[in-house]
């Protein structure tokens, strides 16, 4: 087990390094750097001025050296100007060059400054990640039980009317991407002109103009039923169908197993068979699926946060990418990659623990 874990963690670190290097490479292509120079310096820089700006700030070093500096395994870039002033990557304004640390990269906790938000990337990323964690939490709370119930109910009697209607529902939910369902929800539940809200408002059943809010911006300070339901439901609905189908597949497989037939022949009631015998074994496969949903959810989060204007992680990804904020983009991809890889690891390890048939020697 220890060797298995060690190998997986080693693989994970290698993957993380490769992925961050790819992002680093893509964000440090020359046109990106030129744009950075012009937005940091001034828009009317000549090519020569851009080149000298890049020289001064250490952007024209070889890619691997820059990557090493960003990571914190190579000494930080130092530039000595003609008049003797020393500037560098690790030398913040106000500290003497001698006192500055030699290494300052991601590993040392120096994630750089975000050009678009004007604050340290680490603080920004963590704050935004916290906001997204709330969203994810509620999505999980809604999605997982619903999906499991749906899957178990439709899988316990394969081919029954309930199975067919629930399966169709789960297929429909996987076929509706977030940007479609979100838009339809806003149109019919959060619009003061269309759908349900004007009807309910006329009847005096709701206080405000609309049943739900079409924007989750206020949820960043205070999560309420009104402002958080639609984003949560939108993400949950898309992911739910997939988990439900996996649960159904696993449930139908278990229900045809020999030991279920034995239990049936012993005269146990259907309820007892499902709850006592089938359920536990049927939930092993969905566990992996749920963990592997995280990368997917991350995708959904970007869409939903943009649609509902909830300034979390996904919203920041769009902000950073559309403003060419190199440091922020790198920071965000580190976080995203780590989240994805850690959930993959948990899913693998959890699978081994849950499934008695698998033994890692």
């Amino acid at each position: 087990m220890a060797i298995f874990l060690l190998r997986r963690v080693g693989m994970m670190i290698l993957t993380a390094l490769c992925l961050t290097f790819i992002v680093f490479f893509l964000t440090n292509l020359y046109p990106n750097l030129e744009k950075l120079a012009k937005s940091e310096g001034n828009q009317r820089m000549t090519d020569a001025q851009v080149a000298s700006w890049l020289d001064r700030n250490g952007h024209s070093q070889p890619l691997l050296v820059k990557y090493g500096q960003w990571l914190g395994v190579a000494p930080g870039f130092v530039h000595t100007a003609e008049n003797g002033t020393v500037t560098g990557r690790c030398i913040s304004t106000g500290t003497a060059p001698e006192d500055a640390p030699r290494f300052c990269g991601v590993l040392q906790g120096e994630w750089g400054m975000s050009t678009v938000a004007g604050e340290p990337v680490l603080d920004l990323t963590l704050r935004r990640l916290g906001l997204t964690a709330w969203l994810m939490l509620w999505v999980m709370v809604v999605m997982v039980p619903m999906a499991l119930i749906l899957g178990v109910l439709s899988g316990m009697r394969e081919g029954s009317g309930m199975d067919r209607s629930l399966s169709t529902f789960s297929i429909a939910s996987t076929a509706t991407p977030e940007y479609v369902s979100g838009v339809i929800f806003i149109a019919f539940l959060a619009s003061s002109k269309y759908g349900l809200s004007p009807l309910l408002a006329d009847l005096g059943l709701i206080d405000g103009k609309t049943l739900f809010k079409g924007s989750a911006a206020s949820a960043m300070n205070d999560i309420t039923f009104e402002n958080f339901t639609l984003p949560v439901i939108t993400i949950a609905l898309y992911g739910m169908g997939y988990i439900a189908r996996m649960t159904r597949a696993s449930m139908t497989e278990v229900m045809t197993a020999q030991y279920i037939r034995t239990a049936r022949l012993k005269g146990q009631s259907f309820r007892a068979i499902v709850l006592k015998h089938a359920l536990r074994n049927a939930l092993i496969a969905p566990f992996t699926v749920i963990m592997l949903q995280f990368p997917w959810l991350l995708n959904g989060v970007v869409i939903v946060e943009t649609l509902f204007n909830y300034k979390g992680f996904g919203w920041t990804v769009v902000l950073a990418a559309s403003n060419n904020d190199i440091n922020l983009l790198l920071g965000l991809s580190v976080v995203a990659v780590v989240v994805v890889l850690v959930t993959q690891l948990i899913s693998d390890v959890g699978y081994v623990f849950l499934n008695p048939r698998i033994r890692v020697s």
């Binding site: 993957t15 490769c18 992925l19 790819i22 992002v23 893509l26 964000t27 292509l29 020359y30 046109p31 990106n32 744009k35 009317g161 309930m162 067919r164 209607s165 629930l166 399966s167 169709t168 297929i171 429909a172 996987t174 076929a175 509706t176 991407p177 940007y179 479609v180 838009v183 339809i184 806003i186 149109a187 959060a190 619009s191 003061s192 002109k193 269309y194 079409g214 009631s269 309820r271 990368p295 991350l298 995708n299 970007v302 869409i303 943009t306 649609l307 996904g314 990804v317 769009v318 990418a321 559309s322 060419n324 983009l329 965000l332 991809s333 995203a336 990659v337 994805v340 890889l341 993959q344």
Partner: protein, 477 residues
Amino acid sequence: MDPLTWTGTLGPFLNPIFLVACAALLVTALAQAVLSAFVTTGGSGNVLSVARTPADYAGVATKGAFYLFLATALAYLIGGIVVQGTPNKGIIGAISTQLLPVWIALAVTFALSITFKKKLGLWGKLMGSTIGAIGAGMVLFWIFTGLFAEIIATHQPLEIASGMKNKLPGTPLRGAEEGEFQWYLLGGDALTRDVFSRVVHGSTWVMVIAPLATMFAFMVGISLGVPAGFFGGVLDTILSFVANLILAFPVILLFYLLVTPEIVDTGLPIYMAAVLFLFPILFLTVLFNSKFHTQPAVNYTILAVVIGGGGWLYLSLLSTPGTIWNFLPRGVDLFNLQGNFLIVFVSVVFVNSPTVFRIVRGLVLDIKTRDYVAAAHTRGEGVWYTMLWEILPNARGPLIVDFCLRIGYTTILLGTLGFFGLGLESESPDWGSTINTGRKLIAVYIHPLVPPALALMSLVLGLNLLADGLREESLKD
């Protein structure tokens, strides 16, 4: 001229029936679900006949309500075609009339498929399963709509008309000329264009890009996955690592990194295109060469066609005037892709191929242990023949199912790109971009937004149902 009503002259008769059918369907379906969840079948004892439970009665009622619902829906569509004069047809009737070529094509296809069911293999069997047939119908509907878009659409996708900004469905076109369609059936969007025509024209885009991109992703995935699974070893390790690398990447971040103008300036997507588009030619060359290398005459003819034709397509795809990739003379260059079509296409292929790779590799790992592979080996067949003519055809079942699912996923992905404004140019009628432009006014006007959203949903749903039906039918043998 008065604006059109939704149901025209049919409304007074059909609307009450339709409402009753909807309500009945909802109530009975709920009743059935609840009852069957709590009432277990009373099959106790040694009797073969089981008394009907309330759930069964609810089931019968649901079926009845569903047929009533279907019948009224059909009556709207057929009635809409039969009734003369657009104001009498109403919006639904008029749309149904515009879609007449699609209805005819669908009817012909289904009539032929059901008649020759026995001879059509998997497709014929699909007609036997309700879910599969419904899915196939939905997909065919959009294929035919895309095909006949020019006839169906009432206006051009970019045509603007004064005074039609955000006008509601059924608004008469102000100052319409003789011979022009007099209404905006589904209203006008923020730029005074006809929503109905844009959705119809958008279907052409979607039905071209999504299957094509999926096909390329499959070519790449198969070309790499089959050898990886077959040979194993270092090749497999490296390719799997790269595939997992791409899969671990948040898709949207990747898109943002690939599609931004700065990256496009470096030519990176074109390099990727140059590599990715090489795979189909490579695949076909190896495929035919491994089978026909014993008959040089046939082999050279086929290879000349594949390499010559494919190479020409490949070069004219890459060659674009005004860029560094301008190597074909004007007369020889077959086509030039508009805007960032190529970039979008490449990114979608790039993102999809690792998943295909993994599926193919898994299948090959399973199949290569079979006896017929060993038999081919004993016969002295070459490795490539074994891989492409023995193993690959036997992996087709799961691959066809995944192909259907993946077209749906690609459609969603293209929509996502459009949603972030990274897709085709912003005035393109494809559904994702239309949803993106429409959502800015979502609180005030929903009519430019709902039709493309429903269109996308129904297409993906149809593909999913089709895949489900295919899976079920292929498992039956």
